[in-house]
């Protein structure tokens, strides 16, 4: 762990930007059709519960990252194995999101540029940021958060002003009952993006005011959840269910259809840039956590020296992860939630929490007994 402290507002900003990250980009929760926004909100509530698991674990061990408390809870070897698999998981997710953004750039603006080049550039910036440390990334987040919100507000106004929104597109609400919606929420939106806040378990120890953590996290998850739901509702109401489902990047398609005074049009490039800012924080945090977790597991004194080698690994991983974008999306939305997200976001933390609960109860009762004697 580097010696750094971040404030709760900075954590809020990081969480917010992280949650929006690639979730704004991809067709999220489209299994629920026009009720995608409800699925997102349900996923958000589920995300709260997952957040509480991570929070409890943090309160048991407020000074050490999960890679270390896993060892305390599960014993040295099993704990190390868990920590190691988490490193792989985070690196894989960093590579996934990197691939998402690389594909978006190629689809939208640079059809002739190789994926490797776009990803390399992005990774260079991420490495630069990670080498600067979490404090600097948090500060940059504060600046860019304001920028993002301004841009989002402008975008919203422009979409409304263009008269594109047709609320009939999101009706009828709950056409086929609540079941498909809940199913989408539990299989998809719970894990992407809300469950991905498991990375913040590695960031919590940097917090300078742990008391505020609970509300900070809930606010960040809640605000990002609402924003995602609004964005998705707008996407569907502008594009219609059919188009939104088939579009690879529904938000950009929505923005593309803005046309005001025959002057403000094709703004998708601008929004692509805004999304890159979000993506930077998502990849950056995944990658930062990969680096610090590796450093703490293998007891490397200077985590920043790992940034380049691990960066190259992540970069290559992002290129070889899938042979094309459709495969990548299918993997991401169908397989990954069950094979990776479910165990790493829910099962292992829950297991750790249960064991930690018993260990700490034993300890505290022992202490009590000691006092009584």
């Amino acid at each position: 762990m580097e010696k750094a402290k971040i404030s709760s507002y900075q954590l809020f900003v990081l969480m917010f930007l992280f949650e929006l990250g690639s979730a704004l980009l991809v067709p999220l929760a489209m299994g629920a059709k026009q009720d995608a926004w409800i699925a997102i909100l349900i996923g958000m509530v589920g995300g709260f519960f997952l957040f509480f698991i991570y929070l409890r674990l943090y309160f048991y061990y407020p000074d050490i990252p999960p890679t270390e408390y896993a060892q305390r809870i599960m014993g040295k070897w099993l704990g190390r194995c868990i920590a190691f698999f988490y490193i792989l998981y985070f690196a894989y997710l960093a590579a996934r999101v990197l691939r998402d953004f690389g594909e978006m750039l190629i689809t939208f603006a640079y059809p002739e540029t190789p994926l490797f080049i776009t990803n390399t550039l992005f990774m260079l910036v991420v490495i630069y940021g990670v080498r600067k440390g979490i404090e600097v990334m948090a500060r940059a987040g504060e600046l860019l958060f304001v920028l993002m919100y301004l841009l989002a507000a402008v975008g919203f106004v422009l979409i409304v002003a263009s008269g594109l929104i047709d609320l009939n597109n999101i009706k009828p609400i709950l056409e086929e009952g609540i079941r498909p919606v809940v199913k989408t929420a539990l299989t998809q939106t719970l894990f992407i993006p809300f469950g991905e806040s498991v990375v913040f378990a590695m960031i919590f120890p940097y917090l300078n005011n742990p008391k505020k953590l609970k509300w900070t996290g809930l606010c960040a998850l809640g605000l990002s959840g609402f924003n995602l739901a609004i964005a998705m509702a707008i996407n569907i109401s502008v594009l219609g269910v059919d188009l939104a489902t088939r579009s690879q990047f529904p938000l950009l398609s929505t923005v593309q259809s803005i046309s005001i005074a025959e002057f403000l049009e094709r703004l998708d490039v601008f929004f692509m840039l805004a999304l890159i800012i979000n993506g930077f924080f998502k990849i950056g945090l995944f990658f930062y956590v990969t680096v610090t977790a590796t450093a703490s597991l293998f007891k490397i004194k200077k985590p920043s020296s790992l940034a380049y080698p691990l960066g190259i690994v992540t970069l290559l991983l992002s290129n070889t992860i899938a042979s094309n974008f459709s495969e990548h999306l299918q993997e991401g939305l169908r397989q990954v939630p069950f094979i990776l997200h479910l165990p790493f976001q829910v099962i292992i933390p829950l297991l750790l929490l249960i064991v930690a609960f018993f260990i700490n109860r034993k300890k505290s009762s022992k202490q009590k007994n000691d006092i009584h004697r």
Partner: protein, 540 residues
């Protein structure tokens, strides 16, 4: 690589290999005047500007004394009037005194000048002699009298040329340290304005003063500034830029992490915010530490003008900064990669212009930018008399002629001109010049990767800025990390009656003024200074 640096360091740390000029062990003066004078002549290489005047005083005892000073460094009038003349006049009093008593008598009664001290060692003697003091030696005494007669030619106080304002004081710092401290003290008439002097530079012995307001400045910052100044070990300090580069936190950045100014009112204002000023003898540019990013967009006039005007101007300046960094890059990116973003009519017009031009947009932009940089650099170096030539030639190179020659498009001329003007409008030259440099990096990024390159560049720029510190204060404070209470004097400037706190990240004493000092005009709607009867000229 590492061994190379190490070798450099070892040489630097070797105490025996110093220049050997003022670093001999402290040697006492000799008892004999002739020997002393010989030594001085030898040490100074018989420099012709050192005036040595020997004379005999006292009618009987015939004491030999010598008066030494450096021509031009001293106030010769006062030496003549108060030193030599009074020594002549009081010659009788010195009769029948031994050399020791005579010198003491001289110090106490005869020399009618302000500051008189004793010197016993060569180092101290040379230091005060070279800094413009007058030395009096008497044969048979191992001490010398050091009389403060500093003077010499000084530039008059003029209006600063680098930071011009419409409203505000017209005086600027000069090259003289004492004048500069005076200018500050004239503005802050408080005993809490503390001035700490030190000498830096093994050869030059440049006087450097650290100025701060005790009780407002944060002690930690003051100590840190002092520590860094004391740690400087260099042969010469010729301008405050030397010190700036030796004490800044980060060296690998184009951004200035210390603020420098020529304006005493700006320094006074910053001192009252809790900053520390570093004044260097021989330059009108005073350093201020710690500096934050937003400070470089705050002109002194902002505080004199009304707050709404200042706020608008500050937003304009931020816009200007962005224009001067990314305007050419945006144009290159839009015309090369993202033509769909440009409105159709405009893109047709630009395409028509570009038809005759053989170069890609990046080459065109780079060419024009470099040309402009050449013009600007030449404009600074040219003698005044031929200065007007540059504007004529400049108008040809960046203008109609270049367009007609088919080298550049008119659109590019407009972009380059806007960028250039924008760059001049940044209040701080140090910030403007760093924007100039970064602009080229952005142009390359835009030429290679379009807006993707630009936004990645911007993210890196923001990361870089957020990573900088100035004397421990993060460079982007109070925007990132955000301090809501301090945002009143950043992009916006709240009116003075609301600005009741000093920045907490700099100052240790936060209360600037009483709370709730909103102007309180009388309730009555009448005219104040007329004695009014009820209903008399009263609107209501």
């Amino acid at each position: 690589m590492p061994s190379f640096f190490k070798r450099g360091k070892q040489v630097k740390n070797n105490p025996n290999k110093k220049d050997g000029i003022n670093h001999n062990l402290p040697q006492p003066l000799n008892i004999s005047l002739a020997v002393n004078l010989d030594f001085i002549n030898q040490k100074t290489g018989n420099s012709s500007d050192i005036v040595i005047r020997t004379k005999k005083i006292g009618t009987h005892t015939q004491l030999t004394t010598a008066v030494l000073y450096v021509e031009g460094m001293v106030n010769e009038q006062s030496i003549q009037d108060f030193l030599i003349e009074s020594m002549m006049n009081n010659s009788k009093d010195l009769n029948a005194l031994g050399p020791q008593e005579a010198l003491e008598k001289l110090a106490e009664d005869v020399v009618s000048l302000g500051h008189v001290t004793w010197v016993q060692e060569w180092d101290a003697l040379f230091l005060s002699l070279m800094s413009g003091n007058t030395i009096i030696l008497v044969d048979g005494v191992k001490k010398a009298l050091n009389v403060s007669t500093k003077g010499g030619e000084k530039r008059a106080i003029e209006e600063p040329s680098s930071q011009v304002t419409v409203r505000g004081p017209r005086d600027g710092f000069t090259e003289s340290l004492s004048t500069n401290t005076t200018l500050i003290r004239k503005r802050i008439n408080s005993p809490n304005l503390w001035v700490e002097s030190m000498q830096i530079g093994r050869v030059t012995n440049t006087k450097v003063a650290m100025v701060y307001v005790h009780g407002i400045a944060n002690d930690k910052i003051v100590n840190e500034v002092r520590r860094r100044l004391k740690a400087i070990d260099i042969d010469s300090i010729l301008e405050s830029g030397y010190i700036e580069q030796l004490i800044e936190d980060q060296t690998s950045t184009t951004f200035p992490t210390l603020y420098h100014t020529e304006r005493p009112d700006s320094v006074a204002g910053n001192l009252l915010e809790g900053r520390v000023a570093i004044i260097v003898d021989g330059t009108p540019f005073v350093l201020l530490a710690p500096a934050i990013f937003i400070q470089f967009f705050q002109a002194v006039e902002d505080y004199y003008a009304r707050f709404d005007i200042s706020t608008a101007l500050r937003f304009l300046r931020i816009l200007i900064f962005f224009i001067s960094i990314i305007a050419p890059a945006t144009f290159v990116a839009a015309t090369t990669f993202h033509q769909e973003m440009i409105p159709t009519n405009l893109v047709i017009a630009i395409a028509a212009q570009r038809e005759t031009v053989p170069f890609p947009a990046f080459v065109e932009a780079a060419m024009m930018e470099v040309t402009f940089e050449i013009l600007r650099e030449a404009g600074i170096r040219l003698p005044r008399a031929v200065g007007s030539a540059i504007s004529i030639v400049g108008a040809l190179v960046i203008g109609q002629a270049a367009v007609q020659a088919g080298i550049v498009t008119p659109a590019m001329v407009i972009i380059v001109s806007i960028t250039a003007i924008a760059n001049f409008a940044t209040p701080s030259f140090a910030m403007a010049i760093s924007a100039r440099l970064i602009r080229f990096a952005f142009m390359v990024a835009a030429a290679l990767f379009g807006f993707y390159g630009v936004i990645l560049g911007l993210i890196m720029l923001i990361l870089h800025l957020c990573g900088l510190r100035s004397f421990g204060v993060p460079y982007m404070t109070p925007i990132a990390p955000v301090i809501p209470a301090e945002l009143g004097d950043t992009f916006i400037r709240v009116p003075w009656w609301a600005l009741w706190r000093r920045p907490s990240f700099i100052s240790s004493n936060r209360t600037r003024k009483g709370k709730n000092k909103h102007p309180q005009p009388p309730r009555s709607r009448g005219i104040v200074n007329t004695d009014m009867e009820q209903g008399d000229r009263n609107e209501s």
